[in-house]
Every structure is written in structure tokens, then in C-alpha cells.
């Protein structure tokens, strides 16, 4: 495979420089081993697994409504995406049609969340670049989105907007709130325009990010890159175009061509106006009516799955319902495959750029460190297996962390070691198998 060849092409590895798990440039704990020659990264290995909290295990057997609320704790940045998708799973299984107005409020919340996530990305990216002024500016712009989310949900994080059948009554949008959102969109659009203008016209910044951490379209697909990081390589793939929730809205799928840090940053910057466009359509056309349908009935259902497009890519939730309680929850965040791919993005770049190459995919390590699949790659039927023999979901096992390296067939390590796209593909296949 290309990426394997890329790793083996290394001539000399002078030394290994390990960073983390405690490191100021990494906002979340993870380990990266950089194999360098003359400060140029020849190979890299990212190791995650120190944040495992076992949320799926805690969710097991909880009433569905309670378990849904718990999914917000998966991520502090895209908490709404998790509860929304988790609620969508239940609504799909229980065949609940939510009121149109509730869907609009959910979309507004999700797009606001996308705004604050993308601004956070721009801020953190600037910080890793060493450009603290741009970082501060991006944080100021983010404040508008955060305050709007607080207005809707009552919190700056974990707003608890979605519930089965619609949205919480406290999240109703009255005229004053709609007006505030409209004003916020003006502020964000104006601020972003100035920010982006200064950012792209700064030759020092452009010199630092152009051609750094490049991933080709072909490799991005093979490495299962998802979301804006995939679109930054030129693949026009956005799940929102196929989601029925987004049918009433008109927006463009933004793509870039180079797959480097510059493309990734521009992707997020250009996606912000699209989110603003969606929010404006939503507040303009929001239908009248109830915001929650409480007439649904609980019944047992098999494993149901749901995919949605969140700020970092495709988010997967699935579970079954038995006696009103949740069974066999699986959550797969987009960072899972993105992080694995980014260790290849580091190759060929300067050590100082390594963190930049990793954060270009907007990784969320704590979200990712929940469910680790152990895949026995030595098994002859590993690619065709169903959901039984070769998969261990450590959320349900006594082992907290495990090695999922393709060459390994056990859990000797205490740490999940993401090595190679084949594992990510296998994880994808197996998740699909479980779900089917």
C-alpha cells in the first residue's frame, strides 16, 4: 500500500523523538513518536488510549432518554452532534416523525456548533503555528456562536437541545432569539471576512502552511479520512447533502484541492459562510407549530444505526432497545480514522510542523478514546467475519486499553495503537457488520 511504502522508503532514522502524552501543543493527551533524520520526520506513530472513559459501557442498560443525555459527555465541542445522532437512532427505531419546527431548531443548533468548532480549529491551528494574535481573534469570533448556543440551550457546552420526539421546550425560538441569531450571523460573517482576508494575505503564515502535511485524494480515501479533511483533498463528500433533515436548505459543498494544512484551514474558513447561509434560511423559514411530539410509544427494536455529518466528519451511533433500555451502544467519531491518517501526513515535514500536521484534521482525542475494537488480523476470515469472534469492544471487556495494530493479535499493550489504514478499514467493516 502507498502509505506502507512511504514508511519503508525511509533511508536512515537518526533518532526517535517522542512527544506527549503531556505536551502544551497537544490540548488533549496523546503520544506521538516521530522518527526523524536531520529534524525531518521520516515516520510517525500516534498512540491514543489514555482518555478512555467507557461511556458505551455506562450507557448499557440505561433508559434510552438517560443514555441519550449521556452521549453529550462524549465531546465538549460537538456535544449537540452526539445527542442529536443518538436521538436520531431512537427516532429511527421507534419510527417517530418529529415536528418540522423541531428539526429547524436542531439544524440551527448543529450549524452554530459547527461554527464554534471551526473557529476553535482556526484558533488552535494559529496557536500551533505560533501566531497568537490570529488565535485570539478567532477565539473572539467564536464567542458570538458560543453565546448564541447558550441563549438557545442555556449552556455554553452540552446544551441538551434534542430529545426523543423533538427539542426541549426551553429551546423554543421566539422573535427575540431569532433576531439575536440574525445579528450574530452578521457579526460572524463580517468578522470572518476580515480574519480570512488577513490570514491569506500574510506571507509568513502562507509560507508555514502551504504544502505542509499533504495527503493526496487517493491516500485520503484509502486512509478513510472523513469530513472537511477529506473535502480538503478534493473529494466532494458531505453527508448533509443526503440527510433528510437538511433537505429544506440550500448550501454548497466546499472542497479544496491540495490536502495540506492550508487547504484544511481554508476548508473550515469557507464552510463557515455556508453554515451561516443555512442558519439564515432556517430562521427565515422556520415553520410554526409544536417543537416536540410526545405521543410516541416505546417498543423493542434491533440494532439501529445513524450517520450524520458533524464538524469533523461522519459520526456514527448505533444501539438497540430492549424494555426501554439501551443495548449494545457503539459510537464512532470521525477523529478515529482522521487521526490514524494524520501520522502519514507528518512524513516528510519538519518536526516543528508535526503537531500542525496532526491538528490539521481537527482531532478530538478524548472523543475517540471510547470504543476500541481489537481485530485479530491473523484470522483467515477476518475480512468476512460477522460480529462475533474477532471483535472485542473494550467498553464491554475488562481490559481498558488495547493494541489494534494490524500486526498484533493480542492485547499485550495497555494502549490503543493506531497503525495503518488497514485497521481503520477493518474497523469500519466490522462496525458495519455489527450493525447489520
Amino acid at each position: 500500500m502507498t502509505e506502507e511504502k512511504k514508511s519503508k522508503k525511509q533511508e536512515v532514522i537518526e533518532t526517535e523523538v517522542a512527544l506527549g502524552t503531556v505536551h502544551p501543543a497537544a490540548l488533549e493527551p496523546y503520544r506521538v513518536r516521530l522518527f526523524v533524520e536531520d529534524e525531518i520526520v521520516k515516520d510517525a506513530e500516534i498512540t491514543i488510549g489514555v482518555n478512555h472513559r467507557g461511556i458505551e459501557r455506562i450507557m448499557e442498560g440505561l433508559p434510552v432518554e438517560k443514555a441519550n443525555a449521556l452521549t453529550e459527555k462524549v465531546c465538549g465541542i460537538c456535544s449537540n452532534a452526539h445527542i442529536w445522532n443518538s436521538v436520531l437512532v431512537a427516532e429511527k427505531g421507534l419510527q417517530i416523525e418529529i415536528p418540522e419546527r423541531a428539526n429547524y431548531i436542531r439544524i440551527i443548533t448543529e450549524e452554530l456548533e459547527r461554527l464554534h468548532s471551526h473557529f476553535l480549529y482556526l484558533a488552535h491551528g494559529s496557536e500551533v503555528l505560533g501566531q497568537e494574535t490570529f488565535s485570539m481573534r478567532a477565539f473572539y469570533l467564536r464567542e458570538t456562536a458560543m453565546e448564541l448556543l447558550r441563549m438557545i440551550g442555556g449552556n455554553r457546552v452540552q446544551y441538551g437541545v434534542s430529545i426523543i420526539g423533538g427539542v426541549r421546550p426551553r429551546c423554543e425560538l421566539n422573535e427575540m432569539r431569532i433576531q439575536k441569531i440574525a445579528e450574530g450571523m452578521e457579526t460572524i460573517e463580517e468578522g470572518l471576512l476580515k480574519f480570512a482576508d488577513r490570514f491569506v494575505s500574510d506571507p509568513m503564515i502562507m509560507s508555514r502552511i502551504t504544502g505542509v502535511g499533504q495527503i493526496s485524494k487517493k491516500d485520503a480515501k484509502r486512509l478513510e479520512v472523513t469530513g472537511p479533511s477529506l473535502r480538503a483533498t478534493g473529494v466532494a463528500q458531505d453527508l448533509r447533502t443526503t440527510m433528510k433533515e437538511y433537505e429544506p436548505f440550500d448550501f454548497d459543498v466546499i472542497t479544496q484541492d491540495d490536502g495540506d494544512v492550508k487547504s484544511n484551514i481554508l476548508m473550515r474558513a469557507l464552510e463557515i459562510p455556508e453554515s451561516v447561509k443555512i442558519i439564515r434560511q432556517a430562521i427565515k423559514n422556520i415553520p410554526e407549530g409544536p417543537i416536540v411530539d410526545r405521543s410516541w410509544e416505546m417498543f423493542d427494536c434491533d440494532m439501529i444505526q445513524s450517520y450524520i455529518e458533524v464538524p469533523r466528519g461522519t459520526l456514527y451511533h448505533s444501539y438497540g432497545i430492549e424494555d426501554g433500555r439501551l443495548r449494545g451502544s457503539i459510537i464512532r467519531t470521525p477523529s478515529m480514522s482522521n487521526i490514524g491518517a494524520m501520522q502519514y501526513a507528518c512524513i516528510g515535514n519538519h518536526v516543528t510542523d508535526a503537531q500542525l500536521c496532526i491538528v490539521q484534521c481537527d482531532p478530538c482525542f478524548t472523543c475517540t478514546d471510547r470504543a476500541i475494537e481489537i481485530i485479530d488480523s491473523n484470522s483467515s476470515n477476518s475480512s468476512n467475519n460477522s460480529n462475533n469472534t474477532n471483535i472485542i469492544n473494550i467498553s464491554n471487556s475488562s481490559t481498558n486499553n488495547s493494541n489494534i495494530n494490524g500486526n498484533s493479535n493480542g492485547n499485550e499493550s495497555n494502549i490503543a495503537n493506531i497503525n495503518g489504514s488497514s485497521n481503520n478499514n477493518a474497523i469500519n467493516d466490522n462496525i458495519s457488520n455489527i450493525s447489520n
Binding site: 505536551h23 506513530e45 503555528l129 509568513m204 509560507s207 518536526v351 516543528t352 493494541n403 494502549i415
Partner: protein, 333 residues
Amino acid sequence: MSYITILYSVLAVIATLILAIVIGMLLPGIERKYVQARIQQRIGPPVTSPGIMAPIKFFFKENVMPNSPVPGLYKSLPIICFIVVILILLALMPQIYSFGAFTSIIAIIGFLKVEEVAYVLMGALSKSVMSLGLPFPDIVKGATHPNVERSYIEDLSSNRAFRLIAFGSFPLYLALFIPVAITGSVFLGDIVAFQQANGPFILTLGGAIGTIVFFIGYMILLNEYPFAILKTKADVIEGPYMEYASKYRSFVYLTRGFLMFTLGALFSVLFIGIPPNIFSWGILVNIAVAIIFPVLMGIMSAFSPVFTYKQFYPVVVSTSLLGVLAIVIGLLI
């Protein structure tokens, strides 16, 4: 020389040193609070915090033994750096000009080299918890390249400090030789006397170019953004200083502020012709330069990302060429 003159000179030297330390302690705060924080529209730290309160606080903290193969040498390096900066400032004072070679450009360059070599040693002797110091089981079954030699991140900064000796200090040293080229003497006394007779070099073409070159060299020596590859947060974090705690960290902070003032005074001597002397109004010029340089540095660093070698080399090469041009102009005119 009468006893009164000697006493007067000793008093002048001591008072100038004390003033330099006080001003130097304020400079990091001015840079961070009134420049960087204002640009970034935030409140910033109290002006006394980075240069005065932090060293005092650290001085009285309990020391944590640094993780270093030679802790004694490692701990002594900030003190050596501090003494070296004092020696540089002493060499700049007019009362010392009779000490011959000690007050020459060659001596100044030698002292600055000690400072640079200290960074190499600090990096090589520091083994922090941010990398291999952390007990982390990453050499496990399936791990990539399990048998490769492993380095601490401070080893990276040590290598970088070594590279900076090789190429990073070119602009500053070339700038130091511009007055030498104009006056034809390496002695500071001659350079000051020449400027007092013929006007400051900063007003000449060679001197004006030299000012730009000196400023870039000043930023590189102080490891300030964008030239902070020695201690960039993206990989080596604090770099050579990582393991310093308590009074040793206090010396690191003091030395930085003091070096800022001293380099400002060096510029005053070489390009304006006014040496630091507390019993002369010229000291105000020294103080002004010492403040203007950090302010300009703060503005530049607030708007710059950190440079990797890809950006660093062209900047150093072009600045060095400017320095050579200024020397040629100085020789010709």
C-alpha cells in the same frame, strides 16, 4: 588617577548596573502587557509580573532536582549566563574603556558566544518529562521502529542551538562589525569617540542598514518569535530551560530582561555613540533604546508565526547580505 576618580568610577559602574537590572526587570512586562496583550485585545499580565514578581516568586520556591545527567553543571549555567551579561554591560561602560581588549568588539562577541554555547549545553543536559521522561509503554508489540535510538525533546533544542551558533548569529555579529568597518578600530572607546566627533552611525546609510541587521540579530539571540525555533511551543516547548525550577528559573528570567537592556546599550554604544553611564544624561538614550527594541520586538512577534528552517534560512541569508552590504558601505565611505 586620584582616589576620588576611582571612587566616582566604581560608584558609576555599580549604580549603572543596578539601574540596568531594574529596567531589565521591567522590559519583559512592558513587552507582554503593553505590546502583545494590547495587540491581541486582552488584558495581559501585570507589568511587574513577568520580570519582577516571577523571579522573586521562583527565588523563594523549593528547588526540584532537574532530571539531568550533570545536574551541577546544568544548574550553574543560568548563573554563568547572568554573569556573562554583567560582563558585557561592564565592557560597555565608559569607566572601563581603559581596560584594553576587554572593551573591544572581539570580547563582546566572545561573551555572546558563551551565552549561545550555554543554550547548547542546557539542551543537552535537560531530560524533561514531556517526552521520554514520561513512563509510557509505547515500545509494545506492533510498535513502529522499536530499536531506534531515542532522544529527549531538549536534544532537539540543543541541536538547534548549535545550528544557531553556526548561522543564526551571523546578522548580529555582522552588525557589530559595521562600526568597526567605519572607524577602523575594534575598541569601544574609539567607536564612541569617533561618533562623538562625527555624529552617530545610525544617521549614515551603513548605520541605518546596520540597525535593521542588528535588530534581527537581537531577536534571534533572544529567541523571540518568529525566530523562536529553539523554544517553540509546537515541539520543544521551553527548550533548554525546561528543567529549571526555583532560583535557577529566576536567574533565567533575570538574565533575559538584563540581556534585553544590555543589547539595547550595546546598540547605543555602537550606533549612537552614547555609552551607559548613570552620571550622564545619555543614560536616558540607553533606556529609551532598551525600551524601543522590546516594543518593536513585541509588535513583530505578535504578528509572526514561528519560523522553521524553511523560513529561517532565507531571512538569515538576506539579513546577513544586508550586513555585508553595510560593512562594505562603511569601508567605502
